[in-house]
């Protein structure tokens, strides 16, 4: 009963402490209070993790696209979701004048509540306290509850009385209803092996994670859930180029935020369910169980983001064809095979793993051969194409981002960069005025007077930098080489007159010259930052 034990079994220990503290109360009161605590914990958990997920998604997708992603608000941009929520809260709230108000305002609520309800049966850790309630219909409860959010989408699409909303809702619902069939059928394989619908028992039965015993089931379930939660490449409902934002087009500010919460809550739920059903839930060596759970959830979510940043959107007919021609029959075949295996080899010996993976490969190849999604569809071409794309986005993770943390971090421009205005070396200038004559815009103004000895003294050397077009003719025409292009590139000023650059600023020591038209200077210059990857990496 040391500190490690407490950390390792955090949730059961907390549960024991709470129930001990409530020991004096009658049973129903302690039951009620424990339940309320659990509900509040789940609410906070979901909202916090959703905010984390929003940040994580934007950062990781940024890396997949060789960008940095949002990193300004708070450490590493962690407060970005908070800033987003505040922005949404402060937005003007309006209702479309023709909206069916009751339906319109109830829709986000109906959409978001199932996302929370699902977490009642998701086990974070074994033992009491690791799960709110271990229903013996666990996975069926999840399937049933998540269908309710369809109604919310419908209500939003109808209540807004906007054609884009309606089309978006129709698309969403057609998609959700179609993909629900293979989704539920693929769960049956898991249930057959585990011999239970309870989420806790399913995890406990996974001495070998079910992803190995049920590779085909996993694939169908994962793709089906992606479609259920409308994530890319199944995100037809928010195909911006076609139907604005789909069913939530007409929702402003906070109402939109609720839909957003529902979407990410469902993404979190799906990650948690995949973890529980196929990846062995909280089980893993060394680390505390709940940490294993979160690591696996994050892993599943990362795979979703990986798919999102690689694959383009489906077309509507392809979407339906994929559900009904591929996932649905394959899910049925999966049930058939799993049922046989469950009867013949009830304890699932390890060669079954290899057999199942082989069967999956053969089935996928055969099915794509017999039922091409459209004319000319070839698994050899498209499958390899998808694999290549996935490999490419994965490689991007290890590349240097194209964007930099400006202004803390700056890129070194080319050595012959024609940067801001001019740099003047007054000691060498003879006041010959060649630059003035060379300037096609007449923006260099030179005033000289006779010196005490031979030659001229420069009194005024102004450049109207606001009009400069960086042609560099002045630099090229200078016979003594006292004029250079600058290396800086920030042009903004607060006042108009600052755009006329005088002699004192042209000669200031912090103005760095570039090697434009001065090739002899190139050797001392720092090398240009190259964002292109080294050879061999595309």
């Amino acid at each position: 009963m040391g500190v490690w034990d407490f950390i390792y079994n955090l949730f059961p220990r907390l549960y024991e402490l709470t129930s001990a503290a409530l020991g004096g109360l009658p049973t129903w009161a302690s039951y009620l209070i424990l339940g309320l605590i659990g509900i509040v914990l789940i609410l906070f958990f979901v909202i916090l993790v959703v905010m984390l997920f929003v940040w994580f998604e934007r950062r990781l997708v940024g890396r997949f696209q060789i960008r940095l992603g949002p990193n300004r608000a708070g450490p590493a941009g962690l407060f970005q979701p908070i800033a987003d929520v505040i922005k949404l809260l402060l937005k003007e709230s309006f209702t479309p004048s023709k909206a069916d108000r009751w339906v319109y305002f109830l829709a986000p609520v109906v959409a978001v509540v199932p996302a929370f309800l699902i977490f009642a049966v998701v086990p974070i850790q074994g033992g009491a306290g690791g799960i709110l309630v271990d229903l013996n219909i666990g996975i069926l409860y999840i399937v049933a509850i998540s269908t309710i959010s369809v109604v919310g989408v419908f209500m939003a699409g109808w209540g807004s009385s906007n054609k884009y909303s309606l089309v978006g809702a129709m698309r969403t619902v057609a998609q959700m209803v179609s993909y629900e069939v293979p989704l539920v059928l693929s769960i049956i394989g898991v249930v057959l092996i585990a011999g239970s619908l309870s989420m806790v028992t399913i995890v406990k039965e996974q001495a070998v994670p079910f992803i190995l015993l049920q590779p085909l089931g996993f694939l169908i379930f994962f793709l089906g859930s992606l479609a259920e939660i409308n994530r890319s490449p199944f995100d037809l409902l928010e195909a911006e180029s076609e139907i604005v934002a789909g069913f939530h087009t007409e929702y402003p500010g906070i109402w939109f935020a609720i839909f957003f919460l529902a979407e990410y809550g469902h993404a979190l739920a799906v990650s948690a369910i995949v973890t529980t059903l196929f990846l062995g839930g909280w089980m893993g060596p060394g680390l505390p169980p709940y940490l294993w759970f979160f690591i696996k959830v994050l892993l599943v979510f990362s795979v979703m983001l990986w798919l999102r940043s690689t694959l383009p959107r489906f077309r509507v007919d392809q979407l339906m064809g994929f559900a009904w021609k591929y996932l649905f029959p394959l899910a049925l075949v999966n049930i058939f095979i799993t049922g046989f295996e469950a009867i013949l080899w009830p304890d699932f010996p390890w060669p079954i793993i290899l057999v199942n993976i082989l069967v999956m490969g053969v089935l996928i190849v055969l099915w794509s051969r017999f039922f091409p999604l459209e004319e000319g569809f070839r698994l050899e071409r498209y499958g390899i194409g998808i694999a290549k794309g996935m490999a490419l986005t994965f490689k991007h993770l290890f590349r240097r981002p194209i964007t930099v943390q400006y202004p803390e971090q700056r890129l070194t421009p080319s050595r012959r960069f024609r940067g801001n205005e001019l740099v003047l070396d007054l000691g060498r200038c003879t006041g010959c005025g060649a630059c003035v004559r060379a300037c096609p815009l007449n923006i260099i103004h030179l005033e000289t007077r006779r010196g005490p000895e031979k030659g001229l003294i420069v009194e005024r050397f102004d450049v109207e930098a606001g009009r400069c077009m960086y042609c560099g003719l002045c630099v090229e025409s200078c016979p003594v080489g006292c004029l250079f292009m600058g290396r800086s590139y920030e042009r903004a000023t607060y006042r108009l007159e600052e755009l006329t650059v005088g002699m004192d600023r042209l000669t200031a020591p912090d103005r760095k010259p570039s090697a434009y038209a001065h090739p002899e200077m190139e050797k001392e210059m720092p090398e240009q930052t190259l964002l292109a990857p080294p050879k061999g990496v595309h």
């Binding site: 069916d100 339906v103 399937v143 419908f154 009904w324 058939f336 009867i343």
Partner: protein
């Protein structure tokens, strides 16, 4: 006690929403009330300890049937102008009352085998599974055949729906 309160609340809501389905003029709202009605009936199943039935009720009646109804409404042109009226109001009322009377009569007349005291309500899932998938006297073979049958139907549908 708690179960009794839950039952009465659910019963009241389900009857009210069922009435609303019939009375509401806006057909889309009527469909939504139907969803609420199905949901409360699932709740009543839970108070009776029939958890499997409750989940299936939500899954099928809300997830499939209501969605189908709403889908049909969305595809209907005239739905925006309220419920399409017709002359079947009185016959429908008569048939409804007749059906209700039959049901009430049947419930009252049937000699129910009432067990006192009530046995503890137990989760039904394990029992259903044991009955269905018991290797002796279960329905394992029909279950397998069903999956083959559905597969055949699906492939048939795909072949029929192909362009060529």
């Amino acid at each position: 006690m708690g179960v009794a309160i839950a039952f009465w609340v659910l019963a009241a809501v389900s009857v009210a929403s069922a009435l609303a389905v019939v009375i509401t003029r806006d057909i889309f709202r009527a469909a939504l009330f139907l969803v609420l009605c199905f949901l409360t009936i699932a709740g009543i199943y839970i108070t009776l300890g029939a958890d499997f039935l409750a989940a299936v009720q939500v899954l099928i009646y809300i997830g499939a049937i209501s969605v189908l109804i709403i889908f049909a409404i969305m595809l209907t042109r005239e739905a925006q102008r309220g419920s399409p009226s017709n002359r079947l109001r009185l016959p429908a009322l008569a048939i409804g009352v007749l059906l209700l009377a039959t049901l009430v009569f049947a419930v009252l007349v049937t000699p129910w085998n009432v067990v006192v005291p009530l046995p503890e309500a137990e989760p039904t899932t394990a029992g259903i599974a044991a009955r269905l998938f018991d290797l002796e006297g279960g329905f394992v073979l029909p279950f397998e055949i069903v999956s083959v049958l559905l597969l055949a139907a699906a492939i048939g549908a795909i072949v029929l729906a192909r362009d060529r």
